[in-house]
Amino acid sequence: MIWNRTIECASRDEMAAIQSERLIRTVQRVYHNIPSYRTKMQEKGLVPADIKSVEDITKLPFTIKSDLRDNYPFGMFTVPMSEIVRLHASSGTTGKPTVVGYTRNDLQMWAEVVTRSLGMAGVHQKDIVQVAYGYGLFTGGLGLHYGTENLGATVIPISGGNTQKQIQLMQDFQSTVIACTPSYALYLSEVMQEMGVDPESLKLRIGIFGAEPWSESMRREIESKLKIKAIDIYGLSEVVGPGVSCECEHQCGMHVNEDHFIPEIINPETLDPVAPGEIGELVFSTITKEGIPILRYRTRDLTRLIYDKCECGRTLVRMEKCMGRSDDMLIIRGVNVFPSQVESVLLSMSETEPHYLLIVDRVGTLDVLKLMVEVQEQFFSDEVRQLEALKKKITHNIQSILGISVDVKLVEPKTIERTAGKAKRVIDNRKI
């Protein structure tokens, strides 16, 4: 089902006209309302009138995650708090989260793009959608929730976890759609097997999966184990949340809702646009958001854009599954983890440079994070209980910063391999 045919099937010229008009308005608004944007534009010798069409977008300065952090919590909002009706936040690199605020119109726009995404995935009004993304500061749960209601389907707001109950409700309420992370989908299939529940006996037909990277082989595994069609949805809270883009039934790239979010691909080294169809870093500009409009936000996700018309009839540009990151961020159980967060915790506990290694494994279907810390002499104590207390303290401090559990192991000095003087910080053993 194509929810908004006028937009989703617009010609390239029509889309460019919409984008140009909205971009011009957004640039004017941020220039006059957000000092940090004004300063950045002035540094490039730009005034709002220099942006005459969407073609001029490349003249604009970039926004990066630390811009949001530097203006924590509300410094990038363009409207007074009285107009902000909801806040969401995602984990930041130093423990400070990235905060986004939504006006009433922003929430309506968000519901619209999620509704379109559900339409792309093949969901219709008769469906019963079980939203097993976390509800809370994370955008996954509430994002899918309001999109489903807007579509007119039935939503089961079960949130994440409670796996046996998830499966019980799938049986009792006859859910036809499940929305969660792809790794949780695999976990659900395992628990079904343990409970003796045959996926064929359920009514599930579509899965909408996002918030973490997953491969084509994982898609095939989920589809064969749960007997469903597995659809990839993309989003990030800085832009809006889930619904920035989503696959259609043809599963050939995610259609970007580009009348709200303009995508670009740049070379992460030179910051120049890449040739059409080439892989690079994905950059988004929001052109309808009121609470916290964001220009040329560097997502750090690596992908490419496909402008050919899709078999589904949509003309919206498609982005391929993300192929990695241009920074060292890890996504573990839907949570963003930067090695620098771990480093800052260890640094705060000792005076010299800590040597550590993060190891991510997929045990069964769940991601586990292990941290090896070398016991340098500044950490070493002759007493067992002091070393155990140290281990506990590292575990506790890291868990409270990252928000996910970590298994800390104290190791001897020089255990962690150094290459060319620089220690390797991350080993990701997950096959995704």
Partner: protein, 131 residues
């Protein structure tokens, strides 16, 4: 008497203990006593050696985490109840012991290593006991 004990951080993996003893042996350092405190993940090897400073140096050169700690040597009669008598005295005087282990033994004397919470206080108590 106060002496310097050498402590070494060891992961629980095979061959590490023999490596430490080989390094010390090659450096001409004699081990008079040792003990290992172990947990499920790691261990602390504590050694009394002929040259603690040199031992630290050669172990550090081989990338071990090493530390020296002051410990006390105490004598106790080598007969049933000998150690009990010493510990009862320490206990009665309020000395608290973090850990201890045996050092050497002959026909009439046994020597033990004690790591007390309060070094000076325990030393005074031991002197009082010996005196």
């Amino acid at each position: 008497m106060i002496i310097k004990q050498v402590s070494v951080f060891l992961e629980n993996k095979s061959g590490r203990l023999s490596e430490v003893t080989r390094i010390l042996g090659d450096a001409g350092i004699n081990i008079s006593a040792f003990t290992i405190a172990d947990t499920s993940d790691f261990g602390i090897l504590r050694l009394v050696v002929s040259d603690p400073d040199e031992a630290c140096k050669v172990l550090r050169d081989s990338d071990f985490s090493v530390q020296t700690t002051e410990v006390l040597l105490a004598n106790s009669p080598n007969k049933p109840g000998g150690l009990a008598q010493l510990l009862e005295f320490l206990n009665a005087k309020g000395a608290f012991i973090e850990y201890m282990y045996a050092f050497s033994m002959n026909d009439d004397q046994a020597t033990i290593v004690i790591r007390p919470t309060n070094m000076q206080r325990c030393l005074a108590i031991l002197e009082e006991y010996a005196g």
